[in-house]
Amino acid sequence: MATPPETAEMGDQPVSSSAGEADESIRDLTGWRYTLAQIKRDRTARLGWYIISVVSVVAIVTYVDSQLLNYYIADTFWYHPERDAEGTALLPPVGLENSYGAGTWSHPLGTDQRGRDLLVRIVYGTRIAIQVGVVATGLGVIVGTIIGAVSGYYGGWIDDILQRTVETVYAIPFLILVIAIMSAFGRHLWIAIVGVGIVTVPIFARLIRSEVLKVREEEYIEAAKAIGVKDRHILARHIIPNSFAPVLVQGTLQIGVNILIVAGLSFLGFGVQPPTPSWGQILADSRGYMLPNPWFSIFPGIAILVTVMGFNLLGDGLRDALDPRNNG
């Protein structure tokens, strides 16, 4: 998160002394290479990148195992995340003791109310968070970009209608809108994705629209119009790519926000239905056992916190790297 202008002035800081040297080496880089070099140099953004990498790999492996292999990997080498186990309910983490027994290394984080291993449930819950977070944000970016670009480029009554619609969706609290959507169309994973995607649309529609309004008046757009380039072409080839930087920043941050929304939905019972593990739903399960086994509530929250923080760190780093004011 340390931005070059800030750090350049503070020569006594350990972060900035290395940054000062790096400034020389990346000055000649342009575009993507410059951004990447900036991110690599930024310690906090790098931490975010590592967190996201680890979480993504876990999400992909657990997705494959749960969807294609029917928990073959988990069941063979570990525990089945969905199958109840006898006599191991509500065990505390390793080294601790509660009224249900003592924690052992066979269940490092303890067990849930059905005797299932908490760690395996949390690990397999990753895929829901990432799947909804990433896909819903992607959906919101695509639809929001189209709406925002059309709205900003054409203006007039098209703009009015689209903006009023977007504002209306925006005025209803996200969580309540998604709950209404899910109760109308069913509590399935893909409806959760579409629902969260819909509440994401206004954010990007507004963002892109304001960017388009800025870019629209540029001379090269006028030049393109003058030589008879089609509107569709101008939008897709010139305007949207030029609005890309803020979308990338907002998109990264939004994945974090959407993971929080999904966790909230699952917590209220509107997300993925049991026994499929998801973080919010493990937390909902744990509510009844906070007195005998508080650890049951602690670990899933840490998983959410770390994951969302990863996206926030990278998003902040990208913002610093892409902000034109920092490039000078």
């Binding site: 800030e6 504002e167 969706v169 969580l175 809108l177 937390l283 929250g301 916190l305 926030n312």
Partner: protein, 318 residues
Amino acid sequence: MLIGIATITFLLVNAMPGDPVRIMLGPGTDQATIDAVQSRYGLDQPLYERYFNYMAGVAQGDLGNSIHYNGVPVTEKILERLPVTLLLVASSFTLAISMAVPLGAIAARRQNKATDHVSRIIALIGVSTPSFWIGLMLIIVFAYQLNVFPSSGLIMPWAHPSDVPQAANRIEVLGSSLYHLVLPTITLGTLQTAAIMRIQRSSMLEVLNRDYITLAQAYGVSSRTVLRKHALRNAQLPVVTIIGIQLTTALGGAVLTETVFSINGMGTLIITAVESQDYPLIMGVTLFFGVIFVVGVLITDLLYAYLDPRITYGGGDH
């Protein structure tokens, strides 16, 4: 915009599978009873007719009658629950603004010093943590382990002493209310605090780098005065914007907070409404959330004009 919200919720609610009357009456009720109840709530009319009836009702302030609560008018039910949620949201915003504005400003003043780093880390954790989890953690620590705050319920400060256990007079009611409010306020307020703090810091940094601040410093104005009189006020515009945006987030967060602390507010009301597929109640509550948002935007606009006298709304178009 409110017409839009009413339309969207009307369409959504009517896309719901199942029949609220059947859910309420339970299985095994004979068809004649079901028909009678359905016609009482107007559910036997075609969709477009119900839509126009509903919109006409909304225009007159009539949101229909709740099915789940046996025909109690929706407005009555909402007005009963609304103060609870508003109290919760108001107290969390009070916490957030009173913490975040000074902390953000101090962090900006001491940029890249220890204070700044600590407050940035706290803010980062704040925006990354699910609010309901904070609530669960607070309950575990302060209600179950230390036993200092209650884990559920909320008492309104204006409640009658006879309705409040262990309260003899109005002062004790107020005390009990504050006592119950502490944990839910922290739960709901953390995200707001963190979000406002981040914006306050970056906005303050931007203002502090302006020429007129350098000029003021060059004239020998003390740094405290520069900060308070010149920088803080001008840095507030983006902060006001984010407070307006945070309002919808907070209303959504209130649903989770009320669930965690078993508070009977608007949030738990809409959950009940959705679970029982109470169409009029769902539409009414959603519409009210929209109204609160519109009022919030209005206040934001007025604050803008107060903070920056150059902004006027005389033209009507902004």
